[in-house]
């Protein structure tokens, strides 16, 4: 835990079969900050995100080489992948609550990881829902189906579900692209609050969102990291012309 970085990526390459999807990536992801990954569709940003908790293991023909370290530990070495996914939670583009009660959605992870005591589960569910800024809206209907919630509430529930596993890092893959502006601003506020306790990495197609909430921004193009740096610098004076052209809407 001495390094200020949650992740350190060195010389990483990722192939899907013969397709070279990520090329020689070198990147540090600082702890307790929000890092935004931006770039046109197909540039590799989501693939990169998914390789941080080894979700790509599930993709047939996916091959990764190079070095990805979390707190100094090689996550593609001899580690327990389930434990890795507990430490690195994920929130997807489309809210995906399980077809069960609100309570059970949040308790699902802790139960899987062996928490049985009701008192302990109650406390964890309440804390997770509070941290996800949705407790007040659902505390009176915890036993009701999660599918009855609005899209924005469902997404915050999914964040609560991720938090219940007590992760260190939360990966967010376009978490607001299916949400209205109010729900979007709830999630953005939430991300800003959560970064004190968690490292957050967010893939977004919304430039203003990246500019609003992230501390650092990484621009991907055709599988390469073109530029990464402080968000303010990237959005006011990008160093690379390709970054400039992308964020100002000249291509992509």
């Amino acid at each position: 835990m001495n390094s200020p970085n949650a992740f350190e990526v060195r010389g990483m390459n990722l192939h899907y079969g013969s397709f070279h999807a990520l090329k020689n990536i070198h990147l540090d992801i600082p702890r307790n900050q929000i890092t935004a990954l931006i770039g046109p569709s197909g540039c590799g940003k989501s693939t990169f995100l998914r390789s941080l908790n080894r979700m790509n293991d599930l993709v047939e023909g996916c091959r990764i080489d190079g070095d990805i370290r979390m707190d100094g530990e090689d996550i593609y070495g001899k580690i327990d992948v389930n434990h890795l996914r507990k430490r690195v939670g994920m929130v997807f583009q489309k809210p995906n609550p399980f077809p069960m009660s609100i309570y059970d959605n949040v308790a699902y992870g802790p139960r899987t990881h062996g928490v049985k005591s009701k008192a302990q589960l109650d406390a964890l569910v309440e804390k997770s829902l509070k941290d996800a800024a949705i407790w007040d809206e659902v505390k009176d209907r915890l036993k009701k189906s999660a599918l009855g919630l609005s899209g924005g509430q469902q997404q915050r529930l999914c964040i609560a579900r991720a938090l219940a596993a007590q992760p260190e890092t939360i990966l967010m893959d376009e978490p607001t692209s299916a949400l209205d502006p109010i729900s979007t601003s709830h999630i953005e506020e939430l991300a800003l609050t959560l970064k004190d306790q968690y490292t957050i990495i967010i893939v977004t197609h919304n430039m203003q969102q990246a500019a609003r909430i992230s501390d650092r921004t990484v621009f991907f193009l055709l599988g390469e990291v073109i530029e990464s740096g402080e968000t303010e610098q990237i959005f006011s004076s990008p160093a690379d012309k390709r970054t400039e052209d992308y964020i100002t809407g000249r291509f992509g």
């Binding site: 430039m207 203003q208 500019a211 959005f235 006011s236 004076s237 990008p238 970054t243 400039e244 964020i247 100002t248 809407g249 000249r250 291509f251």
Partner: protein, 213 residues
Amino acid sequence: MRSRYDEELKNLHGALIDMGAMIESAISGAITALENRDIQKAKDIIAYDEDIDAQERLIEEMCMKLLLRQQPVARDLRKISTAFKLITDMERIGDHAADISELAIMLRDLPQMNSNSLREMAVQTSSMLISSVEAYVEQDEEKARAVIRQDDVVDDLFVTVKSEMIEAIRQNSDFSEAAADLLMAAKYFERIGDHATNIAEWTVYAFTGRHED
């Protein structure tokens, strides 16, 4: 893909060039009024300040609209934030042209005094102003940097004018009021030089992303 946006940025650039031309003409008119004690000219310049203010508001609205509709980033953001800063400096230069013209009117009945240093200040500051606007229009970073360097010359001239005026008052107290007015004119020129320097600094920022200190 973004032709309308580019068109609006081009219009903004054009409006700034127009405002640059307006303040150049205000300063040159104010110098004429002061040198020749041309009262009509002075009154025209004072009235013209309203046109300059109106142009400032027009550009402000263009910038607000661009910020609202396009949510600019990178070079576009720098261009628009620079425009906001430029018009403030340009508007102040317009005010000082009017201030100098008012002094020209007040000097009408006072004894004639000549100061080559003050004349030189007028020449230097209007050349700084013209160059700073040109640097912006032509996106000429080197020209902008030359303006920034030129400001020291104007500052030195101000010190010279001040000594000359003190000496004039010491030698003949009949000149005190005129000397005080001319010293104020010198101060306005010195301020115009500062604003022209700001314009040059913002021009460098708009095109490079780096601030000149």
